[in-house]
C-alpha cells in the first residue's frame, strides 16, 4: 500500500467511525443505547457479573429458564473493565473499525483494484445493516469481524493461517446457524479455487466449526430465542419502509447491476450466489443474517458502480450527475436510517415511568409489559416481566377473570403504553382490560406520563 492510498483509506475509515460515534449523540440523553437488543444483552451481562444468573422469562402458564448466550459472557467480560454504557456503545464501533480493515485487506488479497476497495468501503460504511451492526450491540457485532478474520487468515500463507480455526470456532459458538450456512460456500470454494487456498485447512476449520455447532445445539436451546420474521416482505427488508435491518434501494439496484456484471464468470462466482440464496432463506427466520448478506450486496453494488463509471458514456454530463446522485442517495439514505434507528429507543416518558416503577416496586414483583418494552423494563426497572401467550385475556371486560389472570401469574404491576392499549381493544372496537382497570377499585393508577401508564393491582 503506498503512502497516498494509506492516507485515503485511513481517512475513509476514520470518517465512518467518527460518524458512528457522532450518531450516538443524536439519541436522547435518557437512553443509553439504540434499539432493544443492547438492553437485553446488557441486562444478561450484568446478571452474569452479579453472579446471580438465572434469568427467567415468565409466560403465563409456563416458565422458561433462559441461560446466557456466549455473547453475553463476552459483554460481561468487557463490562467489568469498561463499564456498562461504554461497553455496549464502544464495542460495536471497535468491531466496525476491525470489519472495515478486514474487508479492505481481504479485497486486496483477492486482487481487487484500489478504486474498487475504496468504493467498497464507502458502500459498506454507508449501508444500513453495517450502521445497525456497529451501533447496536448484539451477537453479530462480533460474528461479522470474526467471520471476516477467519476468511482473511485462510488466505494467509504463513503460520497465522491457523488462526482461522479459532475464529471459525468463535463464529460457530456465537451463531451456529450462520456457521452452517457459511460451510456450504466454503466447500464450494474448496473445489473451485485452485490457487491461494489451503484446501486441507479450509476442511479442518469448517469441520471444527460444525462440531462446535453440534455441541452448541445439543447443549443449548437455540431457535426458541429467535424471532421468526412476520409481516410484509418489503416493510421488513427495505429501509425506506422503516425496516431496522434492511437494505437501501440504491444498494439493491447497484447490486443487481453488479450481479449481472459478475455473471460472466458464473462458475467462479457460484459460491457468492449460493451464499446469497442461503442467507436470503435463513434471514427469513433469523433477521440478523441480513447483516452478512448486506456485505455481499455492498460488494456487488461496488462492482455495479465501478462498471457504471468504467462504461463508455456518450453524455458526459449525465455520467457525472448520475454518479453524484448515487453517492448523495447513499449518504441521504444512511442519514434517514439513523432517523429510523432513533425511533427505536425508549421514550423519555417510558424511561421516567420505569424509574418510578423501580422505586415503587419490590425486587421479586412481576410486571405485565408488552414484549416490545419488556427488555427496556428489565434494564431500567430491574424487574421481571410477563406477557400472556393468549392475548385474548387482555381484551376482557370481566373484572374477576382479569384479576384471576394477574394473581395466577403473580403480576403486581401493569405497564400500559400505546402498543398495549391497541392490543387491549376488543372486536367491538372498545377498550378491554384497561377499561376494567379504569373502572375497578382493585386497580390504582400510579403514574400517567406521556402515553405511558403504570397501574398497580391491589
Amino acid at each position: 500500500m503506498n503512502n497516498k492510498e494509506t492516507k485515503i483509506i485511513t481517512g475513509i475509515i476514520l470518517i465512518i467511525i467518527l460518524a458512528l460515534m457522532l450518531v450516538h449523540n443524536t439519541k436522547p440523553t435518557t437512553t443509553p443505547f439504540f434499539g432493544i437488543e443492547p438492553y437485553y444483552h446488557q441486562t444478561k451481562a450484568s446478571q452474569i457479573i452479579d453472579d446471580s444468573f438465572e434469568f427467567k422469562n415468565k409466560f403465563s402458564g409456563q416458565n422458561q429458564d433462559n441461560n446466557g448466550e456466549p455473547y453475553d459472557y463476552i459483554l460481561a467480560a468487557f463490562t467489568v473493565i469498561l463499564g456498562k454504557q461504554t461497553t455496549s456503545n464502544i464495542l460495536p464501533i471497535i468491531t466496525g473499525l476491525i470489519t472495515l480493515i478486514l474487508v479492505y485487506n481481504l479485497l486486496k488479497k483477492t486482487n481487487y483494484k484500489k478504486n474498487f476497495r475504496i468504493f467498497c468501503l464507502i458502500f459498506i460504511g454507508l449501508s444500513h445493516a453495517f450502521i445497525y451492526n456497529h451501533l447496536v450491540s448484539q451477537p453479530f457485532t462480533i460474528v461479522i469481524p470474526c467471520t471476516l478474520a477467519a476468511l482473511y487468515f485462510l488466505l494467509e500463507k504463513n503460520y497465522t493461517k491457523y488462526f482461522s480455526v479459532l475464529f471459525i470456532i468463535i463464529t460457530a459458538l456465537l451463531e451456529p446457524f450462520f456457521m452452517v450456512i457459511l460451510t456450504v460456500p466454503a466447500i464450494m470454494i474448496m473445489y473451485l479455487k485452485k490457487e491461494n487456498l489451503n484446501k486441507r485447512l479450509v476442511l479442518i476449520s469448517f469441520v471444527s466449526g460444525l462440531i462446535t455447532v453440534i455441541i452448541r445445539l445439543v447443549t443449548l436451546p437455540y431457535l426458541g430465542n429467535k424471532t421468526i420474521l412476520s409481516g410484509n416482505f418489503l416493510v421488513n427488508n427495505l429501509n425506506f419502509f422503516g425496516s431496522l435491518i434492511g437494505f437501501s434501494l440504491f444498494a439493491i439496484i447497484l447490486g443487481a447491476i453488479g450481479l449481472a456484471v459478475s455473471w460472466k464468470r458464473k462458475l467462479d462466482n457460484s459460491p457468492i450466489y449460493i451464499t446469497i440464496i442461503l442467507l436470503i432463506i435463513s434471514s427469513i427466520y433469523i433477521p440478523s443474517h441480513k447483516i452478512f448478506l448486506n456485505l455481499i450486496i455492498c460488494f456487488l453494488a461496488t462492482k455495479g458502480f465501478i462498471r457504471l463509471l468504467d462504461m463508455k458514456w456518450e453524455l458526459i454530463v449525465i455520467r457525472k450527475l448520475s454518479s453524484i446522485f448515487i453517492i448523495i442517495g447513499l449518504i441521504i439514505s444512511a442519514s434517514i436510517y439513523i432517523d429510523t434507528l432513533n425511533k427505536h429507543t425508549p421514550s423519555k416518558g417510558l424511561v421516567n415511568t420505569l424509574n418510578i416503577l423501580k422505586s415503587n416496586s419490590q425486587e421479586n414483583e412481576i410486571i405485565l409489559a408488552h414484549p416490545k418494552v419488556s427488555d427496556w423494563t428489565k434494564y431500567f426497572a430491574k424487574r421481571e416481566t410477563s406477557w400472556p401467550i393468549n392475548e385474548s385475556i387482555l381484551k376482557t371486560r370481566d373484572e374477576d377473570r382479569a384479576i384471576n389472570f394477574l394473581r395466577e401469574n403473580n403480576i403486581s404491576y401493569v405497564l400500559l403504553n400505546k402498543n398495549t392499549k391497541e392490543i387491549m381493544i376488543n372486536k367491538d372496537n372498545n377498550p378491554g382490560l384497561n377499561f376494567v382497570m379504569e373502572n375497578s377499585e382493585k386497580f390504582r393508577k400510579i403514574i400517567d406520563y406521556k402515553e405511558n401508564e403504570l397501574w398497580t393491582v391491589k
Binding site: N232, L234, V235, F240, F241, G242, L249, F250, I253, L308, K312, W313, E314, L315, V317, I318, R319, L321, S322, F325, I326, I328, G329, I332, S333, I336, D339, T340
Partner: protein, 499 residues
C-alpha cells in the same frame, strides 16, 4: 417547422386557451375540492414564501408534504392578479400549451407537420382532459406538457446528444408530480420493447434512462420517507381508506373509456399498437406506445386513479393518432381514391368533432353546473363569521378543503390521506356521525375530534342515503345555518351532560 404550421399552432393554442379561460371564469367556484387546497397553498406561499406543510386545519391539524413546484408557479403569478383568478387562468394556459410539445413529438415521429397539427388539435379536444382540467386547477395541466416535452427530448437525444433540456425539464417534473415515475417506467419499458424488437438501443438512451431512474428514486425516497415508513406499500394507493379504494381505482368500462378518450384517438392508438407490434418497426413510436401500454396495464390492475390514468392514456392515444393519420395518408395516396383525399379528411374531422368535441361540450356544461358548490360555500362563509376558534367541522372528505378555505375552520377529514394513521377509522367514524340513530356515539366521536359543526348538503345526503341527521334535536343538535338544501348543525351538549 414551416411558418404556416407555426401560425396554425399558435392560433390553435390561442383559441383553445381563450375558450378554456372564458369557460372557467363563468363561475367563481371550482369544480374539484382539491382546487381549494391548491388555493390555500398558493395564498400561503404568496404570504410566507413557503408551502403550508404543517396544516393547522386539515384533519384538525396535521403534517402533509406535497411536491410544490406547481403551487410556486401559481403563487408567482398571483403576485400580479388575485389568486382565484390565477387558478382559473394559468392552469388553462398550461393545459392549452400541451399543443406545442405534442406537435414537436408527433412531428419528430411522423416528420409531417399536418399530422402533428391534427394530433395537437385532437389532444386539445380530449373530453376527459378538458373536463377534468378546465375548472379544477389540476396539477396535470403542468405535468402533461412537461411529460410530452420530456418524451420529445428523450426521442431526440440520439440526434442532438444534448441532454440539457431533458435534465432541466425532468427536474421540474419530479418537483411537480409523482407521475415522473410513470415516465421513467415507460422509458424502461420502451428500452425493453426496442430490445425485443431487435432495434438498436443507443447508449445515450440508456444513459438518460439511468439518470431518470436514479434521480427519481433518490428524490421520491427522500421526499416521501416519512410516508413510506408510515404507510409502507399502501403509499401506492395514497393511503386511501379501503372503502374508497374501489371508487378511485375502479375497473374501467369500455364505453366510459370511449367517451372519455374519444373514439378516433382510441381506435387509432389500438390499430397503431397492433401494426407496430406485428408488422412494422419504427423506434420513435415505441416510447408513446409503451407509455400507453403501461398506463393501460396500470388502469387494469388498479394501480393508478381512473381519472389520472385516462388523462395520460388519452394524450398518448392522441400522439399515436398522429402516426395513424400519417400512415392512412400514405396508404390513401396509393389507392384509386387518392383524389378524394380532402373529402376523407373532412369526414375524419367531422367524426372527431362528433366523438370528441360534443362529449367535451356536454361534460364542460356539467362541470359548470355548480349550485351545490354555491350553496355549500355560502353556508360555510356564514359559518366562518360565527364559529369559534379551534373547532372542527365534519364533512365528507371530498368537501374537506372547501371547509378549510371558506369556513376557515378545521375539518375532520379531507381527501389528502397521506400521513394519516388509520384513515379507515376516520372514515368509519364519519359514517357513524351521519348515519347513527342515537346521539351517544356521535357525541363521543365529536368530542374526540373536537367537532362542533356537521355539514349536511345534497352530496352528503346522497352519499349516506339520508335526508337529515336522525339524532338532531333543537336542544342538543340544532340547525345553526340553513341555506337552501344545505344545513350546518351545531353541537350544543356534551357527552357528560347527555349521560
Amino acid at each position: 417547422m414551416k411558418k404556416k404550421s407555426l401560425y396554425l399552432l399558435i392560433a390553435l393554442f390561442l383559441i383553445i386557451s381563450t375558450c378554456r379561460i372564458f369557460a372557467a371564469l363563468q363561475t367563481p367556484y371550482f369544480s374539484e375540492d382539491d382546487a381549494y387546497f391548491t388555493l390555500r397553498q398558493v395564498e400561503h406561499i404568496k404570504d410566507t414564501g413557503l408551502p403550508l406543510y404543517k396544516d393547522p386545519l386539515s384533519y384538525g391539524g396535521r403534517e402533509y408534504y406535497f411536491l410544490p413546484l406547481f403551487h410556486y408557479l401559481l403563487a408567482f403569478c398571483s403576485l400580479f392578479a388575485p389568486a382565484v383568478i390565477v387558478l382559473k387562468v394559468v392552469p388553462n394556459i398550461l393545459a392549452s400549451s400541451l399543443v406545442f410539445p405534442l406537435f414537436l413529438l408527433v412531428k419528430f415521429i411522423t416528420k409531417e407537420d399536418k399530422a402533428a397539427i391534427l394530433s395537437a388539435f385532437v389532444a386539445s379536444l380530449i373530453p376527459v382532459y378538458v373536463i377534468e382540467t378546465i375548472n379544477s386547477a389540476s396539477v396535470h395541466t403542468l405535468t402533461l406538457p412537461l411529460t410530452v416535452f420530456l418524451m420529445y427530448q428523450f426521442s431526440k437525444i440520439n440526434t442532438n446528444k444534448k441532454p440539457k433540456w431533458f435534465i432541466i425539464t425532468f427536474l421540474a417534473l419530479i418537483f411537480t408530480n409523482v407521475s415522473a415515475t410513470l415516465l421513467v417506467t415507460a422509458i424502461l419499458l420502451y428500452l425493453l420493447f426496442a430490445w425485443t424488437e431487435g432495434l438498436k438501443v443507443k447508449r445515450a438512451e440508456i444513459e438518460l434512462a439511468l439518470f431518470a431512474l436514479v434521480t427519481s428514486v433518490l428524490f421520491y425516497i427522500f421526499f416521501f420517507r416519512e410516508a413510506l415508513i408510515l404507510h409502507g406499500p399502501d403509499i401506492i394507493h395514497g393511503n386511501l381508506p379501503n372503502t374508497l379504494l374501489d371508487n378511485y381505482f375502479s375497473s374501467i368500462k369500455i364505453s366510459d373509456t370511449l367517451i372519455n378518450i374519444g373514439l378516433i384517438p382510441l381506435l387509432s392508438a389500438i390499430y397503431i399498437t397492433f401494426l407496430y407490434f406485428a408488422k412494422r418497426k419504427k423506434k420513435s413510436i415505441y416510447l408513446p406506445m409503451s407509455s400507453a401500454f403501461l398506463i393501460a396495464l396500470m388502469l387494469l390492475f388498479k394501480l393508478i386513479p381512473v381519472v389520472t390514468g385516462l388523462i395520460f392514456l388519452s394524450i398518448m392515444c392522441s400522439i399515436l393518432f398522429g402516426e395513424f393519420f400519417s400512415y392512412i395518408s400514405e396508404y390513401f395516396k396509393k389507392t384509386k381514391f387518392s383524389k378524394l383525399k380532402w373529402t376523407a379528411y373532412l369526414v375524419l374531422f367531422l367524426i372527431i368533432i362528433i366523438t370528441s368535441f360534443l362529449p367535451c361540450i356536454y361534460g364542460v356544461k356539467d362541470v359548470f353546473k355548480l349550485p351545490e358548490k354555491e350553496q355549500t360555500a355560502t353556508a360555510l362563509k356564514t359559518l366562518s363569521e360565527i364559529s369559534e376558534k379551534n373547532t372542527a367541522v365534519a364533512c365528507i372528505p371530498k368537501e374537506g378543503h372547501m371547509v378549510t378555505y371558506f369556513a376557515k375552520s378545521k375539518n375532520m377529514m379531507d381527501s389528502n390521506y397521506l400521513y394519516i394513521n388509520n384513515p379507515d377509522l376516520y372514515y368509519k367514524e364519519l359514517k357513524t356521525l351521519y348515519t347513527s340513530a342515537f346521539i351517544s356515539r356521535p357525541l363521543e366521536i365529536m368530542e374526540k375530534h373536537n367537532i362542533k359543526y356537521i355539514l349536511l348538503n345534497n352530496k352528503t345526503k346522497q352519499k349516506y342515503n339520508i335526508s337529515r341527521l336522525s339524532y338532531a334535536s333543537k336542544k342538543c343538535m340544532p340547525v345553526a345555518i340553513e341555506y337552501k338544501d344545505t344545513r350546518i348543525y351545531k353541537k350544543n351538549c356534551s357527552l357528560i351532560q347527555n349521560e
